[in-house]
Amino acid sequence: MFELSPQDWTAIALSLRVAVVSTLIALPFGIAIATVLARASFWGKSALDALVHLPLVLPPVVTGYLLLVTFGRKAPVGAFLADHFGIVFSFRWTGAALACGVMAFPLMVRAIRLSIEAVDRRLEHAAATLGANPAWTFATVTLPLALPGIIAGMMLAFARALGEFGATITFVSNIPGETQTISAAIYTLTQVPGGDAAAFNLVIVAILISFAALLASEWFARRAAARLHGS
């Protein structure tokens, strides 16, 4: 009864790959932007904040369209990256990862920013008096103390990437084996008469993956918090 077709497996593997890659690539940028927003004060900070949050409030189709006219094969940035670095996004799984990363970015930044803001600056001052320059202080005090929030941010980004649909399908279409993620595959199946049974299987898989991700992040966050509070 519950049987997954090879196409289903392809979509599942692709979804996981896209979600993992987009989360990992977004992470360093997310930490950097979150740190700037949490700590620095400069002219244009609210504009940067708004820009980061834009994918959260824009219709995903609009984000997908903007990616298409920026990173498409013939678009300025897309052509430059393709000609000089051989990085092609259009109609590739890499494009799906880019779309998912952009869509997940605000959630990731938000969680990390909150946890960095919660780090006790007095501990950073203590590190400075012990000879740690700002980079070392950040690496040995700020980041470890913000770890639970960083894990939460990664989890949110992963879940968002897994559920991404609108921006991905607009930017890189819905090509089985290349850009067809679980969400896109479900959508395709529901467009076919009698496809809802097969779609149901993928729905179950989506629920299971999300649930497992949630449990895993909960476990990591607990462990990280326990480390901070001395057990």
């Binding site: 501990l123 001052h125 590190a127 400075a128 008096t129 012990l130 000879g131 740690a132 320059n133 509070h229």
Partner: protein, 228 residues
């Protein structure tokens, strides 16, 4: 020899303090809100004076006239904070070892065991700061600051968060520190009894200004109700 002249406006309140210290232990003494912590934060490099000059030995750490401001992490001034400020994500051992680890030097086992013995923290090494008592935490904080081999050690009300029994427990360690460690101390406190045991020279502050400088006999004239 430490020579301090610092000026800074903090809200409604102006700090304008000058003093020199060439003895083993000097106290900054005065009621809460006199600006004691602000002054040692400026010495440590955690707070920037608006005007002034701070010289330690031959090194100018801060000079507003020439624009010198050595960052805190290059001053090599140890700081024991009122609340300890141990790193909660590191064990006691790694807290003690932090300055050496950051500087990339190899560990000096003699110095490490000497400090551990002097402060009697050997049995705590594998614990997390969250599991320490207040007194243990302050002893580790003193050890952590000492192990960076500071040129000067600042102690900001190191006993203020402890009850009377814990204070009595730690005071002998501070006396030992003064006698053994050969690091000059600046000891900030509003408690005359504590100061009497640790230092020989007193700089008395009130509302951001130095009102008197002298030996511990300065403490005799201070009314008891000021010391609460």
């Amino acid at each position: 020899m430490l020579a301090v002249h610092v000026e800074r406006q903090l809200g409604e309140f102006a700090v304008n303090v000058s003093f020199t210290s060439d003895t083993a232990a000097t106290a900054l003494f005065g009621p809460s809100g006199a600006g004691k912590t602000s002054v040692i934060n400026m010495i440590a490099g955690l707070l920037k004076p608006e005007r002034g000059r701070i010289v330690l030995g031959d090194d100018v750490l801060f000079d507003s006239a020439t624009g010198i401001n050595v960052p805190a992490w290059r001053r090599r001034i140890g700081y024991v904070f009122q609340e300890g400020r141990l790193f909660p994500h590191f064990s006691v051992r790694r807290n003690l070892d932090y300055a050496r680890w950051i500087s990339g030097h190899t560990r000096n086992p003699n110095q490490f065991s000497h400090v551990i013995e002097m402060l009697d923290v050997g049995h705590l090494l594998d614990r997390r700061p969250g599991k320490l008592s207040g007194g243990e935490r302050q002893r580790v904080a003193v050890g952590r600051a000492l192990l960076m081999q500071p040129r000067l050690l600042l102690l900001d009300e190191p006993l203020a968060s402890l009850d009377a029994a814990r204070k009595r427990e730690i005071l002998p360690y501070l006396e030992r520190l003064r006698d053994d460690a050969r690091v000059p101390l600046i000891y900030v406190s509003h408690n005359a009894a504590e100061i009497r045991r640790v230092v020989s020279r007193v700089v008395r502050l009130e509302s951001g200004k130095v009102v008197e400088t002298g030996g511990i006999e300065l403490l005799d004239g201070v009314r008891a109700d000021m010391l609460a």
